[in-house]
Symmetry: C2
Subunit: 383 residues, 2 copies
């Protein structure tokens, strides 16, 4: 498997873009990535998207975007793994370049979520869960996460305010990120007094949806002249049962454990070597569970990393350095590509006051469903 490098990145601001179509949002990020890479053409296009069939009545986003951005005749395809679609598309593009069958790929994650009524989007998001055995019972996607958070608090003795640092850190870091949806510093008081969504998840535990797209151009490493050269050191994916109730231990993200372990082996690193970690904080509980399953904290101790101030850009395990899903925003099928793009920004040293000093190894972890599909990627600056 030949080595692959990331040559260019692009992203759009996450927002309610009522003045821009799915086409325009995706095209903006895709063309920005190609411009950043200094290329006018690529061999192939991989699009990560979850809800366009429902929210935009549009399928076949591969051909759709190849047409729009002028990649005429080129191969193009869509990859879907619920909220893990972005990283799943990245991995598919990676396999194509690594196999030697194509010499370059543009990978984009895109979502246009705000043209439909809220209840339609809630239903669309629920397609990530098990239609027959979960959604049929009336449980929403946030409801499933609320059950996990409640159980975690009960099991390990944490109170709701103990999750505040994840949200506070994400909001603080987003202040520096012009592409973030929310620019609002928050305190423990903001966190604790916000509206309830699904007990115990309140507004500041939950990430906001939004319209957005992020993209990257990848090529074989030996063809990447640009310095510093950002390498894809590892890529791994794993699954768990789609229904949460089928898991022996719902508080352990099995697929995060398996995919991160594979990724560490492939990259030849340990969690200690990871300088920055863009995790999937769709809800604060998911941040805690990701840290635990990926080897950064003991079982039930993920929240302690926040309380001990270890997760800031100056801490031992910096997470959500550009705002995370919580404050940058969570355009579901695009999120995985925002994470990849943000790790590249860190490794290039472009993150201003939230720059992790001397970051050389970064990890991105993207989650589909309540932990059913998890992809872990490790990027590094060539040493």
């Amino acid at each position: 498997m030949r080595k692959v490098a990331i040559l260019g990145i692009g992203q759009t601001k996450i927002d309610e873009h009522w003045d821009k179509s799915l086409r325009e949002i995706g095209g903006e990020a895709a063309l920005a990535a190609m411009q950043d890479a200094g290329v006018e053409k690529v061999d192939s296009l991989f699009v990560g998207n979850m809800i366009a069939p429902i929210a935009n009545e549009q399928n076949q986003l591969g051909a759709f975007f190849a047409d729009w951005i002028g990649l005429w005749k080129q191969e193009a395809v869509k990859v879907e793994a619920a909220c893990g679609s972005g990283a799943a598309a990245f991995r598919a593009g990676l396999m194509a370049v690594a196999s030697g069958d194509v010499e370059s790929a543009l990978v984009m994650g895109v979502e246009k979520m705000t043209d439909k009524a809220g209840h339609d989007i809630t239903a669309a998001l629920a397609t990530a869960a098990d239609a027959d055995y979960e959604v049929e019972q009336g449980v929403s996607f946030v409801g499933l996460n609320a059950l996990l958070m409640r159980r975690y608090m009960h099991e390990f003795g944490w109170k709701h305010a103990d999750f505040a640092p994840f949200s506070i850190n994400a909001h603080a870091n987003a202040m520096e990120n012009p592409f973030a949806r929310l620019h609002q510093r928050i305190t423990v008081e903001t966190f604790e007094t916000s509206s309830m969504v699904a007990t115990p998840i309140n507004l500041f535990d939950a990430s906001p949806i939004g319209d957005g797209a992020a993209a990257a151009v990848i090529v074989p490493a030996e063809k990447a002249a640009r310095r510093p050269r950002i390498l894809v050191s590892a890529s791994a994916a794993a699954t768990d049962t789609i229904a949460v109730h089928s898991r022996q231990d719902p508080l352990f993200l099995q697929a995060a454990y398996v995919s991160s372990k594979k990724a560490y082996q492939m990259a030849g690193v340990t969690p200690d070597d990871v300088d920055v970690f863009e995790l999937h904080d769709a809800f604060t509980i998911m941040a805690a569970l990701s840290l635990e399953a990926s080897g950064f904290a003991e079982r039930g101790q993920g929240v302690r990393l926040g309380l001990d101030n270890e997760i800031s850009p100056q801490g031992r395990v910096p997470v959500c350095t550009r705002g995370g899903l919580k404050a940058r925003g969570h355009p579901v099928g695009a999120t995985g590509m925002y994470q990849i793009v943000e790790i590249v920004q860190q490794l290039r040293g472009e993150c201003g006051s939230t720059q992790v000093d001397g970051a050389r190894i970064g990890m991105a972890q993207n989650i589909g469903g309540s932990g059913a599909t998890i992809l872990t990627h490790i990027l590094s600056v060539e040493s």
Copy 2:
């Protein structure tokens, strides 16, 4: 790029399976392919599907099926390219195995289309077209193909009955295939007197939808002990504009031309070397256009192959030898995998009275939208 072989295949009968769920239909084909391959586990799962998010309110089919068929913890993902989803999933799985990152992949195409009302499915199928510029005008998917057929008849001087041989051949061949949806021999009279769907497309120009799934297990060629060894000699994908009206020449399938040309080069063959061709006869007009763009007929002369009796299993260019989309049925996201499976059956010599004598090289071509995404695969028996 290392060589890949197809170790096992499986499929379900295409029908209105009101007694079986999406899970059960997909699982049946997947487990049959693993049993045929003689394996109990694979490293990765690739699922081709188009309309489950709408028709079954279910996304994340990778994890969904990995869970159901017992591929616990394994990587799994869904690939979508409208009616080209099956072959797109096959190509994604192929890249993963070819790259060396995984040692085996199960690829399945699956669709459960008959649980929703007809108008819902018509709307779901229209997501293959351009939502902003085609569907917005009220045109349905069959409507777009009707415009193409009308123009073709006008441009090249054919009458409707000239398309009959495609439908007659498909129906005759399906008689031998227990997995086909329709088992009914037809004549020119049946064809000409059937109900109109969208002028000039009538009932026997159009393929029936259905519930179905088809699957294959692929491994590196050097690990495939089974004889005869079926190799994937070529895989290529290309796109065209998503909206038909954007094409300079709507009667030429640019993406079929590009992908078949690439495939011929990769396999080191010409159209003359292809013993059997499973083409995408969603409508009879598509059969004609595929034959022309893929080098089997001159422009405007695709229908002549049918009239000259060249497309039967005993002809010069055997097509739809198991019934094609027309009579085997067209469970949209599954069709590409049925085509792959049927080529394997031909190369193994398992096709009874529709067996192409001494078939050693077979081609499958899967189309998404009205020609927007086209994938061409060439399989061969190791010589």
